[in-house]
């Protein structure tokens, strides 16, 4: 038998089990309806969970983008001060960040797809649960033992299949979300550890690359000030001209002492 028939049979068997268990088929209607309401809650929670996870990825993407931008700026600064080694390091890190972003973007898109599917499924299930409720009341009002089994069976297997389908979609979304959560947690750790360089971290202070860059620029600044100092000094032994203190001698002295 083909898989499509076997799958259809599996759904039917599932629905019939509930029917077989009940003494009065009308009990099944109420029981099934309760399960439907539970499933509706579940699928709505599933939509909310997937949306939360998707938003977390959006946030991470924004953070990684900031890190990539900062690394790009740092590379440019490093080139400015003639430190190709630091520029290379910054660009290497940026490449790693970009690769992470590509992966996360793919995951985010997959989650968006699940979110859309689940939202549609929730809407459809809502409509069918409503239809079931109407039919349930009709069957109960016009109940005759002879036809009850058939009519209850039709209603229950119709909705049961829908619930099975939606339940699978919820499960799937939960699996995807769980996988994503694990990964997102790892990336959050990378971001806070500074390994990917979290440009948004305010408490962590400066990262090692920025420190090296600042040091390089600092050295350059000192060199420049030293040169300026030397230029400002009167040529030695040319005469008793007093030093022009007021024009900048004092700050220069202070800087030189630091």
């Amino acid at each position: 038998m083909s898989i499509s028939r076997r799958l259809a049979d599996l759904f039917r068997i599932k629905a019939n089990k509930a029917l077989d268990r009940a003494e009065d088929p009308r009990e099944v209607l109420d029981y099934s309806y309760e399960r439907q309401l539970e499933m509706l809650t579940k699928v709505r929670r599933g939509v909310a969970d997937v949306a939360t996870s998707r938003k977390r990825l959006d946030l991470q993407l924004a953070q990684l983008q900031q890190a990539a931008d900062k690394l790009g700026e740092q590379a440019a600064q490093a080139v400015d001060v003639g430190r190709d080694d630091l520029a290379r390091e910054a660009l290497t890190r940026r490449a790693a960040v970009t690769a992470q972003m590509d992966e996360i973007t793919a995951q985010r898109d997959a989650l968006s797809g699940e979110e859309a599917k689940l939202t549609t499924a929730a809407t459809r299930l809502q409509a069918r649960v409503e239809a079931f409720r109407t039919r349930k009341e009709t069957i109960k009002a016009t109940y005759t033992a002879a036809e009850a089994q058939t009519r209850v069976g039709e209603a229950v297997s119709g909705i049961s299949e829908e619930m099975g389908d939606v339940g699978l979609a919820v499960q799937r979304a939960e699996d995807r979300t769980a996988q994503m959560q694990a990964r997102a947690g790892a990336i959050d750790e990378l971001l806070t550890s500074g390994a990917l360089q979290d440009a948004t971290a305010t408490t962590a202070g400066r990262d090692d690359l920025q420190a090296a860059l600042d040091a390089a620029r600092g050295d350059q600044g000192v060199d420049r000030e030293l040169a300026a100092l030397k230029a400002a000094r009167p040529a030695p032994a040319v005469g008793g001209r007093p030093e022009p203190r007021a024009v900048g001698g004092r700050p220069s002295d202070e800087e030189a002492r630091r």
Partner: protein, 92 residues
């Protein structure tokens, strides 16, 4: 006949299309039997496309069980095996 595509919904397909769909279904089944993942994906895609093309969507307010239930387009062989292997896997 009513055919459900998992994760997508139900379609009402006219009897005139059943011959074509059965032939496609047999090809999907052949791919399952040989464990050919690429062929399974391709043939399942053909079958689902045919169901969508020949069928019309069952309205949301209608409660009907399906004669055939097809895996969703992004299923692979492992998903199908899991579905069929343990009936308890189908929730609801």
């Amino acid at each position: 006949m009513i055919i459900r595509i998992l994760g997508e919904g139900q379609y009402r397909v006219p009897d005139s299309a059943l011959g074509e769909l059965n032939a496609l279904d047999a090809e999907v089944q052949a791919a399952v039997d040989t464990g050919d993942r690429a062929a399974f994906h391709a043939r399942l895609g053909d079958l689902l496309a045919a169901v969508r093309a020949r069928g019309t969507g069952v309205p949301d307010a209608e409660l009907t069980a399906s004669g055939l239930v097809l895996p969703g387009a992004d299923s692979d062989l492992a998903d199908v095996a899991a579905l069929l292997g343990d009936e308890g896997l189908i929730p609801g």
